[in-house]
């Protein structure tokens, strides 16, 4: 009796081990859209610096040339953009291009000197574009970062 159960358990474990790798593979990719691969967070400091942090999924990368930033509906201007050191990537058609993987911290210097009508809020559009290593690329995507209250800044 005990021997039958041992054999029987081995068969069950074998069947489950055969099935699980495929389960993990298909579930991971299908649920993701492009936004899931590039998560953005933002922090605004009192020294008028906006820190944008992109967390890039290990499957993917972002093009350095794909970044653009714009202040919306305000006289505040982006006076300087600090990008971290990029990685070299060879595209067969585009040649050597600069990309980012993992976590990317971008710092924008904001110039408030031209603001005529003070405001309590600030909205900034951040665009990015990237691809997945498996050979698909995503449309340029846009996030709008909004700060509802800016005590002492504007």
């Amino acid at each position: 009796m005990t021997r039958i159960f041992v054999v029987y358990r081995c068969i069950v474990v074998f069947c489950i081990l055969c099935c699980f790798p495929q389960l993990g593979l298909s579930g991971e990719v299908a649920a993701h859209g492009a936004n899931e691969f590039y998560k953005l967070s933002a922090t605004l400091s009192t020294s008028n610096k906006l820190a944008l942090t992109y967390n890039i999924d290990p499957c993917c990368y972002l093009y350095k040339r794909g970044f653009s930033f714009q202040v919306l509906g305000s006289d505040v201007v982006v006076s300087h953009i600090s990008l971290p050191e990029s990685l070299r990537h060879n595209d067969e058609f585009f040649g050597d291009v600069e990309i980012y993987r993992g976590e990317v911290l971008i710092v924008l210097d904001l110039d408030f000197s031209r603001v005529v009508v003070p405001s309590d809020s600030l909205s900034i559009a951040a665009e990015h574009q990237g691809c997945a290593d498996e050979g698909i690329c995503f449309l340029p995507d846009r996030n709008v970062v909004r700060f509802a209250t800016l005590p002492g800044l504007l």
Binding site: F5, Y8, I136
Partner: protein
């Protein structure tokens, strides 16, 4: 083996069958093609896009022929990598009822220049976010490019591929039509 032993064995066998059955069903369901609404499929093929001459066209404009519809963009390296293959196969399959259709998710001027430089010999339509949405209706779950669908003469969805299409897959599709 006594009665209790047999009952326990039977119960465990039943539970095991249910567990394994669920796992196998999950695998089959997750790896099969996504469910696509037939009405939405037809609607997507009637979405209007301008061609390189500014004329409004739709995927359904080429009804009656087998269609290989490729969503692409000039800013997408894997997309432009496969264009020469499509150009070559369109010429090779000139005597077959197959039409390649490129739908560029891009700016008109860039597409026009690229099509001219690369001597694209099949219809090119141009869209933006609306074109991407059409691709999503046709099964582009990851909203990435390139994405290619294989349609029958009446618009039935035969196959789809995310990423650059292997040449063998297109040839296999074409060989069934001969």
């Amino acid at each position: 083996m006594n009665n209790n032993g047999l009952k326990t064995l039977a119960r465990r066998s039943l539970i095991t069958c249910v567990v394994i059955g669920s796992v196998v069903a999950g695998i089959l369901m997750s790896s099969s093609r996504p469910e696509i609404d037939e009405l939405a499929l037809k609607g997507a093929q009637q979405a209007q896009f301008q061609d390189l001459n500014g004329k409004w066209q739709q995927i359904a404009s080429w009804s009656g022929s087998y269609r290989i519809v490729n969503f692409w963009a000039t800013w997408c390296p894997p997309c432009i990598e496969e264009i020469p293959l499509f150009v070559g196969l369109q010429a090779e399959y000139a005597d077959r009822n197959i039409t390649f259709i490129g739908i560029a998710v891009d700016e008109v001027a860039r597409v026009r220049g690229f099509a001219s430089d690369n001597k694209i010999n099949y219809p090119i339509l141009i869209g933006s976010g609306d074109a991407l949405r059409v691709s999503e209706i046709l099964g582009n779950q990851r909203s990435g490019l390139p994405f290619t669908v294989f349609l029958g003469p009446s618009g039935d969805l035969i196959d789809m591929h995310s990423g650059a299409v292997p040449e063998a897959k297109i040839r296999e599709f074409a060989d069934k039509i001969r």
